[in-house]
């Protein structure tokens, strides 16, 4: 076999590998969404009013040149310039990263990315076990609340211990978040395993419950409300309880330590799924419950333990949100949980892919701030983009059809389920 043949063979196998195909599909989905988003921006630019066009599409007016003469063209003006918007959205999120990698906007991007890694991998773990955990948001809230409330009591007495206090308090905070989030997720897990209650419904309901109960607890001074503030929040935690901010400035609310921790968690979860008996059980019952049962997997226990793990990851995300960004618990937690679903789907529920998808969504979230400050385009556009990306990721067949037209990745066998059901083994 010649080297060229071998290379082609390798390439062929790569293309067939579902992980690679997933990657291609995700990229194509992203590009297509950006394109359609641009059309929406242009369309919206026609619906709004402005004094001068921000963007003009020039139609080389053959007709005009021919019959009217001159170099003028027919053009259509738009109030919004899609290129400028995308420039603000994608590059704005990085700030002036080349001259100052530690700038505030980039810090925001990284901070968002860090939280999304936790919620993304939380959703992914559950998905791999074929459980649709829509309750990540609620679990994150419960985790954040527990961390904020308990540390508010534990931390102040230790505040004078300096680094030693951090060494104790930080892990304690994360642990509290994880335990609380896990316990809160175990409820729908047990209901699914032992009472056949559909987890999609129960977790949605529990999201509402978590938000309401959190509001109840932190809006009353007799419970955990900070008496010093109008806001519904717990008292601020001392700095020693927080993630140290290393290179970034404290006000940037980001910590490279937290980011590193998040990455370590992603790798750890990947290892857990691919290289441990528990991970094998989890994946098997996610792909084919009957085969899992045949292979000696206790289906009910696996359901409960996987969603508990998922909830624990979400809860840790909540703890990081408190210990890195806010410094206390406050009602009105952003929709990290729902974004986590998006992140996980885009990543094909692969823990390592979650890292990249979280970065993309971190950029989108942070970039939307820049878009809002820097242009008139409503930042809800980012929400539309998010929906479009998911829609396109959900239809791999569409891209396969296009792919087949151009003869690239033609592949026999089952289509890759968009929830990443296929390809469990290929990233091992």
């Amino acid at each position: 076999m010649s080297a060229a043949d071998r290379a082609r063979d390798l390439l062929g196998r790569l293309v067939r590998a579902s992980a690679f195909e997933r990657f291609l599909i995700s990229i194509s989905a992203l590009l297509l969404s950006v394109f359609i988003g641009a059309l929406i921006i242009l369309g919206a630019g026609r619906m709004t009013d402005c004094s001068s066009a921000a963007y003009t599409i020039a139609v080389p007016g053959k007709f005009v040149t021919q019959f009217v003469g001159g170099s003028s063209v027919f053009a259509m003006g738009f109030c919004y310039d899609p290129f400028a918007v995308y420039d603000l959205l994608f590059l704005g999120a990085l700030g002036d990263v080349l001259s100052n990698p530690l700038n505030g906007q980039f810090a925001t991007t990284l901070a968002e990315t860090t939280i999304l890694m936790f919620t993304g991998v939380a959703v992914a773990v559950a998905f791999r076990a074929d459980i649709f955990n829509i309750g990540v948001q609620g679990q994150l809230v419960v985790g954040a609340l527990t961390t904020g409330v308990v540390l508010a009591y534990v931390a102040p007495p230790l505040a004078d211990l300096g680094v030693l206090a951090t060494v104790v308090l930080l892990p304690l905070g994360l642990l509290l978040g994880g335990v609380a989030g896990g316990a809160y997720a175990a409820v729908p897990g047990a209901l699914k395993a032992y009472a056949d209650a559909n987890e999609v419904i129960t977790t949605i309901m529990l999201n509402f419950v978590a938000t309401s109960v959190a509001l109840f607890l932190v809006s009353r001074e007799k419970y955990f409300k900070d008496p010093e503030s109008f806001a519904n929040q717990t008292v601020p935690l001392p700095d020693v309880a927080m993630f140290p901010d290393f290179l970034f400035r404290p006000r940037d609310d980001v910590s490279l330590l937290a980011l590193a921790f998040a990455i370590a968690v992603l790798v750890g979860i990947w290892y857990l799924l691919q290289h441990t008996s528990f991970g094998y059980d989890l994946r098997t019952s996610g792909l084919q419950p009957d085969a899992a049962e045949y292979g000696g997997v206790d289906a009910d226990r696996t359901i409960v333990s996987s969603i508990t793990l998922s909830g624990a990851l979400a809860g840790i995300g909540g703890a990081v949100y408190v210990l890195m960004m806010l410094g206390n618990f406050q009602t009105g937690v952003p929709d990290y949980g729902f974004d986590g679903i998006t992140v996980s789907i885009l990543a094909g529920n692969n823990p390592l892919g979650v890292g990249f998808a979280a970065l993309l969504f971190g950029v989108l979230k942070s970039g939307s701030v820049v878009v809002q400050v820097g242009s008139d385009v409503p930042p809800t556009l980012v929400g539309v983009l998010r929906g479009l990306i998911i829609l396109f990721v959900a239809m791999p067949e569409f891209f396969r059809m296009i792919g087949r037209k151009f003869g690239s990745f033609d592949q026999p066998g089952e289509p890759v389920a968009a929830d990443g059901a296929t390809g469990g083994g290929s990233d091992e």
Partner: protein, 523 residues
């Protein structure tokens, strides 16, 4: 239009699937008013050919001629309009709807200008049709509540309701008891008497000869001959089917039995619908013997095996494995205790279709030595293991990195068999171990099974292939309706006697089963 004698003529039909030629230039002539059997082994292309006739598949080449007119069927609708009806191997019925609704589906009589289904009219027509053909069905029962035999009649009524002149039945007898099979053949006679034409698919020689006027044999997608049922012999048909003379006798040495490995006592099991599927069954399997269970599919064998292997909770009774009570033991404990199990449904249970063979190779062993220690899986050892199975059991293509889904059915089965046999089991529970496997591999699997027996392991063999269970077993239990009719010596029993037992009747000279036979204490 002149009436031709040929109701259906298929000319030069070729149908290809990725990697397979399912039908290769097949010709078929079916006489009007006759029963025409289509015979062939698993995968010979019978169903595909009929799906082409029914408009479900479009042939790559060839022509369909009905009533002397060439037709192109783009969908079953076209075929139905041309007077063709098909009763599929897996019934095409909607469980939640009534008999009458199922029969009328797609051709509902309307009233109020089409705004409503005229349910009375539909019922009337169903009652009328079933009276005309002597069927006994209640139009108002829900499909989920009626027996398989009735469901089949509903399928036939469905075709007749659509005015079918040509009825295709795909393996209609596979799920029926012998009595129901006789009833069915009566129905077929009734149909042909009324001028209908019947094509039925089977791979049972006897049936083809008994019920058909003509028999066409397919092999590897080709028509290898059409013969007159009255003038042919079983031997001739068998040879046409498999392409060589068949030797079904497995040479085996007398067993050298030891301790009891599996002791099943008064076991009762419910099926998915909570209906008793196994009632008060007792038997034992000992080291060094093959204990066979024969019976028509659906007589409780599946539930029995699931109760033994820990996939279904028994209603009553006990299961002892290796001298310990395993009745309520979790599945994992049974695997760890040395119970290997070749499941009936390889694609649902036996393999994780989206895993590659390396991952599938440790299914069931993912928790302990030698592939997993202290919670982590040793993928290198797992790979070696999978590659060894692939090589020894001739799994093709020979690459352990392939996903299970990409393997053909037979190769999937070979891999499962390999994995389970290589477990170093105390007991092998094998259900239909050679289903869908080519002849060469069948022999290999049979030999390995006997080897295991000779090494002193217990084997519980469940198969609906009579020749297989009869040939391999040292003792043979026949199940009917959840009950063990008798435990017999497979070398002494005749096919007729077995047939009667499977149909729930005791042939003369046979005692009802006794505890002694079942447990094999006397031997």
């Amino acid at each position: 239009m002149t009436q031709t004698d040929t109701a259906v003529r298929l000319e030069d039909i070729t149908k290809r699937f990725p990697g397979v030629v399912a039908n290769d230039n097949v010709d078929l002539h079916v006489e009007r008013g006759s029963v025409h059997a289509l015979l062939g082994e698993n995968g010979a292309g019978k169903t595909t050919l009929m799906n082409v006739l029914y408009g479900l598949y479009q042939p790559n080449s060839g022509r369909v001629v009905v009533d002397g007119e060439p037709r192109e069927f783009d969908s079953p609708r076209d075929a139905i309009d041309a007077g063709i009806g098909m009763i599929h191997q897996h019934f095409m019925l909607v469980d939640t709807m009534t008999v009458a609704e199922n029969i009328a589906l797609g051709n509902e009589p309307r009233k109020w200008g089409g705004l409503a289904v005229d349910r009375e009219a539909a019922r009337r027509e169903v009652v009328e049709l079933s009276e005309r053909y002597g069927f006994d069905v209640d139009p108002d029962q829900t499909i989920a509540d009626v027996s398989v035999g009735v469901q089949q009649r509903v399928e036939i009524l469905k075709a007749l309701y659509r005015g079918a002149d040509v009825l295709i039945l795909d393996e209609p007898t596979a799920v029926l008891t012998p009595q129901e099979v006789e009833d069915l053949f009566g129905v077929l006679d009734e149909l042909t008497d009324q001028g209908k034409t019947v094509i039925f698919i089977t791979h049972k020689l006897g049936e083809a000869m008994h019920a058909a006027d003509d028999v066409t044999v397919l092999r590897d997608g080709e028509n290898v001959g059409t013969v007159d049922a009255d003038e042919t012999t079983r031997e001739e048909l068998a040879e046409l089917m498999v392409g060589r003379e068949v030797v079904l006798d497995v040479e085996s040495t007398p067993p050298d039995v030891g301790e009891t490995v599996l002791d099943v006592d008064s076991l009762s099991v419910l099926d998915d619908r909570d209906v008793p599927a196994v009632t008060d069954v007792s038997f034992a399997v000992r080291e060094g013997e093959v204990f066979g269970v024969a019976g028509v599919d659906g007589n409780g064998q599946a539930e029995l095996v699931e109760a033994i292997t820990g996939l279904r909770e028994p209603e009553a009774g006990t299961v002892e494995f290796d001298g310990r009570d395993f009745t309520d033991a979790p599945r994992r404990e049974r695997i760890d205790g040395g119970m290997a199990y070749i499941p009936e449904d390889r694609q649902e249970r036996g393999l994780v279709m989206d895993f590659d063979l390396v991952e599938n190779g440790i299914l069931g062993s993912q928790h302990g030595e030698p592939f997993a220690g202290s919670g982590t899986i040793d993928w290198d050892a797992s790979r070696e293991h999978a590659e060894a199975i692939v090589e020894e059991y001739d799994v093709r293509p020979p690459n352990a990195d392939n996903d299970a889904v990409s393997l053909s059915g037979g190769n999937q089965q070979k891999f499962i068999v390999g994995r389970e046999f290589e477990r170093d089991p105390r007991l092998v529970v094998a259900t239909h171990p050679t289903r869908g496997v080519d002849i060469g591999s069948q022999e290999f699997i049979h030999d390995r099974l006997l080897e295991l027996r000779d090494e002193g392991r217990g084997v519980l063999l469940v198969s609906s292939k009579l020749d297989e269970v009869q040939g391999l077993s040292d003792r043979l239990a026949v199940m009917h309706d959840g009950d063990v009719m008798a435990v017999v010596d497979p070398d002494d029993v005749t096919e007729e006697e077995l047939g009667l037992l499977m149909a729930g009747e005791h042939p003369e000279g046979y005692e009802p089963r006794s505890e002694r036979d079942a447990k094999g204490v006397a031997q």
